[in-house]
C-alpha cells in the first residue's frame, strides 16, 4: 500500500514541471534534466550531466541531476568531455537508468 502510494505520488508532476510543460519551455534548461542522443549503435551524446562516476572499457556511469545513466558496451571511448556535454563512441549494448 505504501509502495503504491509512493508510485502515485511520483507520477504527480510538481508545480514547476506543470509550468514548464504548459508554457512549453525547454525541459533540459528549466528542469536540468539530461539529454541523451544516441545515433545508431556507435555514438551517444550526453548533455546536462554532473560528472563521471566510473569509466571502464565496457561501461560508463554518468551522474545526472535525478539519476545515474549506465551505458554498457565494448570499446567505449569518450571522444570529448566538457562541462556541457560528452560524446561516447564504441559499441553500445545497453543504456540503463538507475535511481
Amino acid at each position: 500500500m505504501k509502495r503504491n502510494d509512493r508510485n502515485t505520488k511520483r507520477r504527480e508532476p510538481s508545480l514547476r514541471e506543470k509550468m514548464v510543460t504548459n508554457l512549453e519551455l525547454p525541459k533540459d534548461l528549466m528542469l536540468g534534466v539530461s539529454v541523451l542522443t544516441v545515433t545508431g549503435r556507435g555514438e551517444a551524446l550526453i548533455s546536462n550531466y554532473k560528472g563521471i562516476l566510473e569509466y571502464k572499457d565496457s561501461f560508463i556511469r554518468v551522474q545526472t541531476k535525478n539519476c545515474r545513466i549506465q551505458i554498457s558496451g565494448a570499446h567505449l571511448v569518450i571522444d570529448y568531455y566538457t562541462n556541457e556535454e560528452m560524446k561516447i563512441t564504441g559499441f553500445i549494448e545497453s543504456i540503463q537508468y538507475e535511481t
Binding site: E54, Y55, I78, Y81
Partner: protein, 414 residues
C-alpha cells in the same frame, strides 16, 4: 577535420593519469572548462588528450585529487617549431614557397570551354593564344570584356559569350547560333557556269537559274558546259541585244562509268606475331629528344607501334613534353600463297568496300561488271561500275564584251 587541424596548430599532449581519484579529476576538469578528448581507460588510470593551455591549469586539480600525470606524446605545431628552431633556412624556404604560391596564383593555369559545338576547343585555345590570354598569362593583363568582344567579332557563329576568371581558372562560355551560314552564299558576287565534272550521259537535269545547254540523254565530256550563267536577250530580229549574267544553279545527274582494277598477288608474306614483345619510352621536351640509352632491341623481324602522349596539367593545359611508348612486337615472316577460293573472297571483299565508299559519297550504283582473271602468278579483278551521280562543277562565266550600254551606244550611232 577543421577542428583537428586547429588542435594540431595549437598543440596538444597525450597523457596518462594515475592516482587516487581519477574520476574526480575528470569531473573537476569538466567544471573548469578544460577540454579533454579521446579519453580511454587503462589498467591503473586513464589516457587522454589535452591542449597545452589546459595542461598548464592542471596543477591545483592534481594536488586536490592526489593524482599524477605523465606526458606520453607531444603533438602539434608548437612542439615541431621548437624542435626545429635552429633550422632557419627551412623557415626561409617555407616563406619563399608561400610567396611563390601567392605570385603564381596571379596567372591563368586552367582554361575551361563550355557550350561550343561548331568551334572546337583547339580553335578557341588558338584564339586565346593570338589574343595573348593563354596559359601563364597574368590575370591583371586580361580584360574579359575586350576578350569577349574580340571573340564575338572574330567568329560570327558565336552569338553570346562570357569569359570569367575565378582563381587561376578561366571559363569561356559560348553560345553558338543554331544554323551555320549557307555555303553557296559566298558565290553571290561572282557568276558561275556549271560544267561537267566527269564524262557521262546526262540522265536528269533540273535548272533553277541559268541557261541549260544539255538535255537528258546528252553525252558529255569532262569540262563540257552544262548550264550557262549567261542569258541572251534577243530582239524581234533574233539578234542578241544584251547579255545578262546570273550564277547558274541546277541539279544534274549523270550516268558515269567508273573503271575498277584490283590486283591480288598470289604469294604473300604472312607476319605472325610471336609472344615476345618489349617496350621502350622516349621523352621529347621542347625540341630535345631523350632516348633510353639502355634499350636494345634484339628481334630480327619486328613491328613497332608508337603511342604518343602529351603531358598535360589540367584538361587543356598541354606542356611541351611528349612521352612516346614504342612497343616492339617480334614477328615471324612466312612465305604463303592464297588458294583460288581465298583470292575470290578477298576480291569480292575489296569490291564491296569500294562500292560502300561510293555509296557513302551519295553515289547511286546501278550496275557492276567485274571479272577476276589470272595473269601469270597474280589475279586481277577488273571491270566497270555504272553509277548515277551529280556531275555538277562550277566554273566562272566568261563575261562577253557586249554590255547593254555598248549596245545602246551602237544603236544611237546608227
Amino acid at each position: 577535420m577543421l577542428l583537428s587541424l586547429m588542435k594540431y596548430a595549437k598543440g596538444y599532449v597525450y597523457v596518462r593519469l594515475t592516482g587516487y581519484a581519477p574520476e574526480r579529476f575528470l569531473n573537476l576538469c569538466g567544471s573548469r572548462d578544460i577540454l579533454i578528448w579521446n579519453l580511454l581507460p587503462c589498467d591503473d588510470g586513464y589516457e587522454f588528450c589535452i591542449s597545452v593551455a589546459g595542461f598548464r591549469q592542471l596543477k591545483p586539480i592534481l594536488r586536490k585529487t592526489r593524482t599524477h600525470i605523465r606526458i606520453l606524446r607531444r603533438v602539434g605545431a608548437p612542439f615541431l617549431t621548437f624542435r626545429y628552431r635552429k633550422r632557419k633556412l627551412f623557415g626561409v624556404g617555407l616563406f619563399f614557397f608561400g610567396m611563390l604560391l601567392y605570385y603564381l596564383s596571379g596567372f591563368i593555369w586552367n582554361i575551361e570551354i563550355n557550350g561550343n559545338s561548331y568551334l572546337s576547343n583547339e580553335v578557341i585555345l588558338d584564339f586565346l593564344e593570338d589574343e595573348a590570354c593563354t596559359f601563364g598569362t597574368k590575370k591583371s593583363d586580361i580584360s574579359c570584356e575586350a576578350l569577349e568582344e574580340a571573340l564575338r567579332s572574330r567568329y560570327s557563329e558565336v552569338i553570346w559569350t562570357s569569359i570569367k576568371i575565378y582563381g587561376t581558372k578561366m571559363t569561356v562560355d559560348i553560345q553558338e547560333s543554331l544554323l551555320p551560314e549557307e555555303q553557296y552564299e559566298k558565290q553571290d558576287d561572282a557568276v558561275y557556269d556549271i560544267v561537267a565534272a566527269k564524262d557521262g550521259v546526262v540522265t536528269e537535269i533540273i535548272t533553277r537559274s541559268g541557261t541549260p545547254l544539255v538535255t537528258a540523254g546528252t553525252e558529255v565530256k569532262k569540262g563540257d558546259m552544262l548550264v550557262s550563267g549567261c542569258l541572251e536577250i534577243k530582239n524581234d530580229a533574233e539578234e542578241v541585244v544584251e547579255y545578262l549574267y546570273r550564277s547558274s544553279d541546277a541539279d544534274i545527274v549523270g550516268k558515269v562509268v567508273y573503271p575498277y582494277n584490283d590486283v591480288i598477288k598470289k604469294d604473300y608474306i604472312a607476319a605472325t606475331p610471336t609472344t615476345e614483345s618489349c617496350k621502350d619510352y622516349t621523352l621529347l621536351i621542347g625540341g630535345l629528344t631523350l632516348k633510353n640509352p639502355f634499350f636494345h632491341n634484339s628481334y630480327a623481324d619486328y613491328q613497332v607501334t608508337a603511342d604518343t602522349y602529351q603531358v598535360h596539367v589540367t584538361d587543356n593545359f598541354y606542356l611541351p613534353i611528349w612521352v612516346t611508348r614504342y612497343t616492339y612486337q617480334e614477328i615471324e615472316n612466312q612465305q604463303k600463297s592464297y588458294s583460288e577460293k581465298e583470292i575470290r573472297q578477298i576480291a569480292s571483299k575489296n569490291l564491296q568496300n569500294y562500292l560502300q565508299d561510293l555509296e557513302e559519297k551519295g553515289i547511286q550504283i546501278i550496275g557492276k561488271n567485274v571479272i577476276i582473271k589470272r595473269t601469270g602468278k597474280d589475279y586481277v579483278a577488273s571491270g566497270t561500275i555504272e553509277v548515277y551521280e551529280s556531275i555538277v562543277s562550277y566554273q566562272p562565266t566568261e563575261i562577253q564584251n557586249i554590255t547593254s550600254e555598248e549596245r545602246q551606244n551602237a544603236d544611237e550611232s546608227d
